[in-house]
């Protein structure tokens, strides 16, 4: 946005597509709970939640149309959180 000093306008079609994507992913995350995945339950739930968060970040929060530095920052934060979760599971999976 700030690169060229003008606002980027996202077409309604994109918004609706993303909304549909979010609804499908939500339905999927509910449906997947009926399958017994053992230790992978949390992984699948987190992956689906991450996919949804990324859709919101990229389209609704305009990350895609912004300066690359913001994407780098978000990637860095994501990496930190993923590392924290992986390290936490070094406890739970090896007890």
């Amino acid at each position: 946005m700030e690169n060229n000093g003008k606002h980027h306008i996202v077409p309604y079609k994109t918004h609706i597509t993303v909304l549909l994507g979010l609804i499908i992913l939500t339905a999927l995350s509910v449906a997947v709970t009926s399958i017994e995945l053992g230790p992978l339950t949390v992984t699948v739930a987190l992956l689906l939640a991450t996919a949804k968060a990324l859709l919101v970040l990229i389209y609704f929060m305009h990350l895609r149309f912004d300066n690359i530095i913001y994407s780098i920052m978000v990637a860095f934060v994501m990496f930190s959180i993923i590392s924290i979760i992986v390290i936490t599971f070094l406890d739970y999976l090896f007890r």
Binding site: V77, S80, I81, S83, I84, I87, T88, L90, D91, Y92, L93, F94, R95
Partner: protein
């Protein structure tokens, strides 16, 4: 830095007449300098309360048996002491006071990026503090869990947990907003010509700290909400009888609270990195290495939280991983110490009070750091866990590190903040008394811990008496030191001799504006052409 120092005819920020008068000119001011002072006075008030609680606990421990308080009062005291000292003092500490005051000036800006958000942070801080303190006087009595609110006790204790936990949650927002504000300010508002590697080290440390505040604090926020949900709705996150896991609480709590240690110590290291080159009158040794170590500490610091839980029953793999990662943090910390010492090497040092605070910071920080390695080793940890050794270690790091750096920074920037000089004689006496008291108070705790004295008990067996007598007398000396330092600074702020614009011969931007600075700091935004510590 800038070749053209700015001289202002504007009234100073202390005298500026705004929209409101009296106290409202302060509590509704969006000026970063006034907000910095609001934090200073609030933190000082809370600190006096926390220090008195600490003194009373040491008086209880001066001899075995009940002296001035029983077990329940003692439990309440160490909980409140911890909450006040951690959440209300050392976490906001240097960023909220000196970060607010000096970050914009040091990077050549007129204010932070979001001045109103900045004022909101202070209001949230005060509101959170009020909610926390309400827990002392209402409901089932003062919380007795310790500042860590460990599950399952924190959702079982009949004491008044909810206000304490809710207050800590609100304080977290204050911290997040300050961190966000500083990150944006540093990205967007540096003066022309001030590239990332022309920025002084204190703003660099605030930048790294800002990221920790931003990423780690929400985790403790969610965790505290989980405690509230557990207590009120019996959900079963942490309660084993409901299928929960108490160790999950410890993970979540320390995922924030260990990086919080770096929220405390990084700005302290930043302040020390400002003081040493100014009084050594020399460029700092390894400027980029210090930046790299700051960022490395902030980053690796996220992944070491498990060393608080070595005896909690984690898996072996987790134990080894956390122990190795903990040892890794020592590397960037040591890089900084070597850089500070190398800066002093062959320097023509101007011995002044801030420098005394800075070198004593290095001394106590190293003792704290080395004892941290003892605790980070798996085998020794089993012996020392929950003993006075741990208490000594974190007081050397948290109080020794942050406290010495805070008071060093206070003396260093005092002429700039208040436009007056402190009484150097009393300042030196205050520092020496404080230092002797500090070592006498916390030094014996290492011995007591190794001998096996557990922490968090109001009573002990006779064999620990000797060490406790020395430690308790140390607390009296320390309190005397604190009283001398605070009295001297308050008195000097009111009636001290007028200070020059640049009493120490510093070359970062804050020394190029009048003392005290005008409302918008600079008449004209400076153009930076030289490095921050270029004494050539």
């Amino acid at each position: 830095m800038s070749e053209n120092p700015t001289r202002s005819i504007e009234p100073s920020y202390l005298k500026y007449k705004g929209r409101y008068g009296g106290i409202f000119a302060w509590i509704f001011s969006t000026d970063h300098k006034r907000i910095g002072l609001l934090y200073l006075w609030s933190i000082m008030t809370f600190f006096i309360v926390g220090a008195i609680l600490g003194l009373l606990m040491k008086m209880e421990l001066i001899s075995p048996g009940k002296n001035i308080m029983g077990p329940q009062t003692y439990n309440g005291f160490f909980t409140l002491h911890g909450i006040i000292m951690i959440f209300l003092i050392v976490i906001p500490g240097l960023p909220a006071v000196f970060g607010n005051f000096f970050l914009p000036i040091m990077i050549g800006a007129k204010d932070v990026a979001f001045p109103r958000l900045n004022l909101t942070s202070w209001w949230l801080y005060m509101f959170g503090a009020l909610v926390v303190l309400t827990s002392q006087f209402t409901g089932g009595g003062p919380p007795d869990t310790g500042w860590t609110f460990y599950a399952p006790y924190s959702f079982q204790t009949p004491t008044n947990m909810l206000p304490a936990v809710t207050g800590a949650f609100i304080l977290g927002f204050s911290s997040i907003l300050t961190g966000l504000n500083f990150i944006v300010t540093i990205h967007r508002m540096r003066a022309p010509g001030m590239g990332w590697f022309k920025m002084p080290l204190f703003p660099w440390s605030l930048y790294a700290t800002g990221w920790i505040q931003l990423i780690a604090t929400p985790i403790v926020g969610v965790t505290l909400l989980m405690i509230i949900a557990e207590r009120t709705l019996n959900i079963g996150f942490f309660d084993p009888s409901l299928g929960g896991d108490p160790i999950l609480y410890q993970h979540l709590f320390w995922i924030y609270s260990h990086p919080a240690v770096y929220i405390m110590i990084l700005p302290a290291m930043g302040a020390i990195s400002e003081i040493i080159p100014t009084f050594a009158r020399k460029t700092i040794f390894g400027y980029k290495a210090i930046i790299a170590s700051t960022v490395a500490i902030a980053f690796v610091g996220y992944f070491v939280w498990g060393h608080h839980m070595f005896t909690s029953g984690m898996s072996g793999v987790a134990l080894y991983t956390f122990s190795i990662l903990t040892f890794l943090v020592a590397i960037p910390s040591a890089i900084k110490v070597f850089n500070w010492v190398s800066t002093m090497h062959k320097a023509s040092i101007n011995l002044q009070t801030p420098f005394y605070w800075a070198v004593s910071f290095i001394f106590v920080f190293m003792i704290g750091g080395f004892s941290g390695l003892v605790l980070g080793a798996l085998a020794t940890n089993v012996h020392l866990h929950d003993t006075h050794f741990v208490v000594a270690h974190f007081h050397f790091i948290v109080f020794g590190g942050t406290g010495f750096a805070f008071l060093g920074a206070m003396h260093y920037w005092f002429p700039k903040v208040f436009g007056r000089k402190y009484d150097a004689g009393w300042a030196n006496i205050g520092w020496l008394t404080f230092f002797i008291g500090f070592i006498t108070l916390y030094g014996p705790m290492f011995y007591l811990g190794i001998a096996g004295m557990p922490r968090r008990y109001y009573d002990y067996v006779e064999v620990f008496h000797g060490g406790n007598i020395i430690s308790s007398f140390g607390s009296i000396i320390l309190i005397a030191g604190i009283a001398i330092v605070i009295t001297n600074l308050v008195k000097s702020a009111i009636s001290g001799e007028k200070a020059d614009q640049n009493p120490w011969g510093g070359i970062t931007l804050e020394w190029k504006v009048p003392s005290p600075p005008p409302l918008e700091n600079f008449d004209e935004i400076p153009h930076v052409t030289r490095g921050p510590y270029d004494y050539s």
